[in-house]
Subunit: 692 residues, 2 copies
């Protein structure tokens, strides 16, 4: 026991080191110059809008979190007196607060770095701009991973029961779902609104200061891509660690419970070291620098885990568990490569969409849907292979150890979250920097440099999206198995067990019914989030049209548009529309579990995970491919944007496809990840008190 | 045993009666006049194109069927000597041939009735036109149900083993998959080609004789909606009956094996009687007449089954099994109503899409996707409820009888296939009649009458689509359970059983991996069929453009377009592009079963069924709703087709949505039904010989 507490302490220390490193990095960024007063002013407007949104989002969620906490304290212990309701409630609140802190830290860092990145590009060049923007991303990445590891480790030191601290993951996942959905709606409402009226109707360029929605659009990049993704991966990180701890505890006792923390610690230290590999000179290739950082982190993590596994586990488990972790690392790379294949505009799928634009928007959309649907197969095959492999290697020592394999593969994948989030978050910083360069009317070569970074950011964002989906899938499976373990411990459900295990038989009508209901929920949540973007964008379009009409001198640059009003419309829409899907995500598992029983809930989780992952891949890849097909045409292919001064109909068709893809890839698709995870964490909590 | 053979004889007799009734009806239709020589000529061109397509389709499938038959004879008995390979091969070929016969009979009837319907509308009026077109549909409906029941009953009389005659269902389902996919590609390639160049570019009306693709378009209505749907439901009918027989045999012996035939016989007699309720006068409401026919059939079936169940089963099973059948009948009605709700243009979902067209095609498409995704939830809930209920009532007498419930619910749903197919098939006849009225330049009031029937046909088609999806879902579940029973009898797989039953544990990695792979296959098949339509339509567009350009005098009506070339392009594309998805459907289950084992195949079936049904609902309802949103605008809403003589951009946006929806609702969506069934029938055959 003493030794195991030492392990938890290592986890806490690694988490704290990562956080400290994040804060030091943040302080160092703050010393960089912000450029001209105009740049500072714009940056502050974006920052203000982003913070206003975050404040309102978290404020809206306070009643929800308090109600849940009260239910945890008052209701659960009545259903089973052995349950420590106060511990659950505290863990839940800590999880929710940590998620919010990670969001604030990351958002602060990225929104304060955009002007600094633009200034770095202006006064120093590409290398420095990459350095500033990537450091800003690293603050986000290390905050996410550090807070996750620290929170889980400290709660474990206090409560010594992984099931209690699952509530931490539940808190994180509830917040993550709202952050993902709200952020996704915000960013797309602003983007679609800004583009449809500004670019298409008024014919002014992207990020033009005359466009009233332009600040909202830049805010959206931060609240969607940075805060949403950060919350999502914070949740994956917490939930996977805890699911692995629960399963490990059941199989190996404290040693098994703590090894996931050790893997997390290795990954986080490797991520910190990995950030130092990301450097490039003026003519250099930022993508290569980022890839080097990622590979270095993966390799260092693998080496570290190899030795620690050998030190922790006896017999064949030592190698088996290392290989399971390695499988997670490999799937991570594979999913990233597949995402890149299906969305990159130098590859056949995306070019097919561009080609289909020749016969108009309908064929563009048909081919985009087809690419998205097609893109699910190989990632699913990789997941399946990784699951099979991890299961197999973990069973070498004993068949009963097998299910630890999937959890450790998930842990392996997530251990490098620090650097992956850093790579993802630097993109919006570079994107914003470009926006500021445009709005502050800096020389065009500054914009060219930030555009180069932004293009790299699109690729790293695709990789991070694949990572988020893959980690959500493995996390959900680990939670599913932890749930089965929890039900097996539930004294009221002993009649459901066979040889002490929960056998989730697909031929049992409860399981089948749960599976069918669960499988349909991702469609429902996709539908409601997609509709929300449509409605919110509609409001934004009308507001921008109104300002162009009513504010005199706006098009001549003589009058300032009312940026704040657009920010406030996007904020209001995002907050209002995130409620319904959020409640569906949290409440339906409760209805299924208490109404139809523990078996139905198991089926629900399986069905939800399968279609949730499929929809996530379909929507993300279709959207990404539509986007890049448009960009490829804009680069001058198939006639480019204009032919003989007139809009090129091929480009117009591609713009329509891209707009259809916007809510797919940035709202509905990303909402799938927290959807499947929140169901898992909720189920894990009620698994101990279900009565049928 | 003697008594049970008598029951099978009743099944065979009812099937033969239905077939005889179909032939008599067909003969009576042939006595109706065909109208002017021009009408006759057009009708014959359509018929010729349709028959040419069917001939080529079946000819292409001959090598495939022969290879499968040879494999059944040569390979299976080596894997397990108890297997009668020749019986399997014969049943398979009989199933394939019966499916083809049903296709020919129905197609013959509908293509020979189109001009007769137009003539009836011209010389007698609406009532007579409904009478002719519905009788044509009834020939199809009763051929499908009659051949299904006759084939299964006779094969049972010969082989007395439901597992052997499952091969009949396999034959039917293999053909059905190709027919659905090929027909779906054909109809949409022709439709999109005819519309994009004819209506949009050349500005000539629908069905204008100057359009080279117009005959192909009319052929498409027959090969897609009639032959494809007929093959689909023939398969459901055969597969459900056989799955119910296998499960019933395992539980009740011959009595249980034969009761499904009795339910089929009752349904078919009720369907024949039901057709007599479908009559209307000149000012009458054809929809009401059709609804009356459907309700009468449902009620007669329910009453018949109530008494026969009481006569066949002792104790609580009598009522329980009747209630399970009744649940199937009710789900049938409920799914139809839900389909109608999500696609009708007097309901909110469709109006939302129309409204969204105001802000352009992108928002139209986004809302259409959202409506389609939303529409899956309540049907899935109804399936889940029906499964739960059927399971529960069937377990009243004994828990071991429970799984007979789902099979009997499926049987209840399908027992009325005769009249449902009739209602579905009359639509294309009316649609074609309208086309002929247009091309033969009949007075406009004829077209108005056929349009009225066509509009009703769209609603009944929606109901039939819901029916096809619902029956496919229940059929697939019944097959899934029959598969579990088969594996339990497989001597090599006894180590997989627990208490003599196959426990399909979701916590088993094989099952999980199978589930994930199975869940992804519907996306792959959707993608490939959608892409096929895109590519085939592209070829058609180019051909129509070429004819307009190269054939002089075509636009003035002085030169005849080359209809045959368009027919042949559509045929070639449909045949070529149906191969890949067809092989995926048949071969992947073999790979999973022999490669990963019986458990993985069980997971595969579950995953495939869940997402297959979801995708079927999503695609069909999104497509239907886009279509009707466009029609609603064309009826003069939101500005109608033109504003001040210029194309209304709102209408143009809706046309784009409709075109996106075309392959969704008529190709990819309908392909899902045979996809999930063919996997079930293949698995059922190899379930006896899997070796791991």
């Amino acid at each position: 026991m003493q030794e195991s507490m030492t392990l938890a302490m290592y986890g806490a220390i690694a988490g704290a080191v990562a956080l400290a490193f994040a804060l030091v990095t943040f302080a160092s960024i703050m010393k960089e110059p912000m450029g001209t007063p105009r740049m500072k002013q714009i940056s502050e407007a974006v920052q203000e809008g982003a913070m206003a949104y975050l404040n309102r989002q978290y404020k809206t969620l306070i009643p929800f979190t308090l109600v849940v906490a009260v239910l945890l304290v008052l209701v659960l212990p009545r259903l089973d007196p052995r349950i420590k309701g106060d511990a659950l409630a505290i863990s839940f609140l800590v999880g929710a607060v940590c998620s919010a802190i990670a969001g604030y830290l990351g958002m602060n860092s990225t929104t304060k770095s955009n002007a600094r990145t633009a200034e770095a590009a202006r006064s120093h060049g590409l290398g420095k701009a990459l350095n500033v923007s990537f450091r800003a991303g690293a603050v986000m990445g290390l905050s996410v991973a550090g807070l996750g590891l620290l929170g889980v480790s400290v709660l474990y030191l206090i409560y010594k029961d992984p099931v209690v601290i699952n509530s931490f993951a539940f808190g994180a996942s509830a917040i993550a779902f709202f952050a993902r959905v709200g952020g996704g709606i915000y960013t797309k409402a602003a983007d679609v609104g800004a583009d449809l009226v500004g670019k298409v109707e008024a014919g002014i360029p992207e990020d033009d200061p005359r466009n009233p929605a332009t600040i909202a659009d830049n805010v959206g990049d931060n609240v969607g891509d940075t805060a949403g993704m950060g919350a999502d991966l914070f949740e994956s990180y917490a939930a996977t660690t805890i699911a692995a701890m629960i399963i490990g505890n059941a199989i190996f006792g404290p040693k098994g419970a703590l090894f996931p923390l050790v893997v997390g610690a290795v990954g986080i230290i490797a991520s910190i070291l990995g950030t130092f590999f990301v450097r490039t000179g003026e003519g250099g290739n930022p993508q290569a620098a980022l890839n080097l950082g990622l590979w270095a982190t993966n390799i260092m993590t693998a080496i570290g885990v190899y030795f620690l596994s050998a030190w922790t586990f006896p017999g064949k488990d030592a190698l088996g568990i290392f290989l399971a972790v390695a499988a997670g690392l490999i799937v991570n790379v594979a999913i990233g490569a597949l995402t890149e294949y299906y969305t990159s505009n130098s590859r056949p799928p995306c070019l097919r969409i561009a080609e289909a634009s020749k016969t108009g928007p309908a064929t563009n959309v048909i081919h985009g849907l087809s690419v998205g649907m097609e893109s699910v197969f190989f990632p699913m095959l990789f997941f399946a292979a990784a699951i099979y492999f991890a299961y197999w290697v973990a069973s070498w020592e004993s068949a009963s150890h097998a299910i630890y394999g999937i959890a450790m593969a998930a842990m392996g994948m997530l251990s490098t979250a620090g650097i992956v989030v850093a790579m993802d978050s630097f993109g919006p910083v570079a994107d914003n920097a470009g926006g500021i360069a445009e709005m502050a009317e800096l020389p065009p070569e500054v914009r060219q440099k930030t555009d180069k970074l932004d293009a790299v950011g699109n690729t790293t964002a695709a990789i991070a999206k694949g990572f988020a989906i893959g980690s959500a899938a493995l996390t959900a499976l680990a939670l599913f198995q932890a749930y089965a373990d929890e039900v097996a411990r539930n004294p009221k459900l002993q009649h459901l067990l066979t040889d002490g295990h929960l056998v989730i038989n697909l031929n049992n009508p409860q399981v089948l019914v749960g599976l069918l209901i669960g499988a349909s929920i991702p469609f429902v949540v996709s539908a409601s989030t997609m509709r929300a973007v449509g409605d919110a964008a509609y409001g934004m379009v009308n507001e921008v049209r109104r300002q162009f009409r009513e504010i005199k001198g706006i098009m001549e640059g003589e009058a300032k548009p009312d940026y704040a009003r657009c920010v406030s419309i996007a904020t209001g829409a995002a907050i209002n529309k995130m409620i319904f899907p959020g409640l569906v995500a949290v409440i339906v598992p409760l209805i299924v579990g208490f109404g139809l029983g523990a078996m139905a809930l198991a089926g629900y989780l399986a069905g939800l995970t399968a279609t949730g992952v499929l929809m996530a891949l379909f929507l993300a890849n279709a959207g990404g491919s539509w986007d890049n097909a448009k960009k490829w045409i804009e680069a001058g292919n198939l006639g480019g944007k204009k032919i003989d001064g007139k809009p090129n109909p091929i480009h117009q068709a591609a713009v329509i496809g891209d707009t259809v893809g916007d809510p797919c890839k940035d709202t509905s698709g990303p909402a799938m990840n927290p959807l499947i995870k929140v169901a898992g964490t909720v189920s894990l909590i009620i698994g101990a008190v279900l009565f049928r």
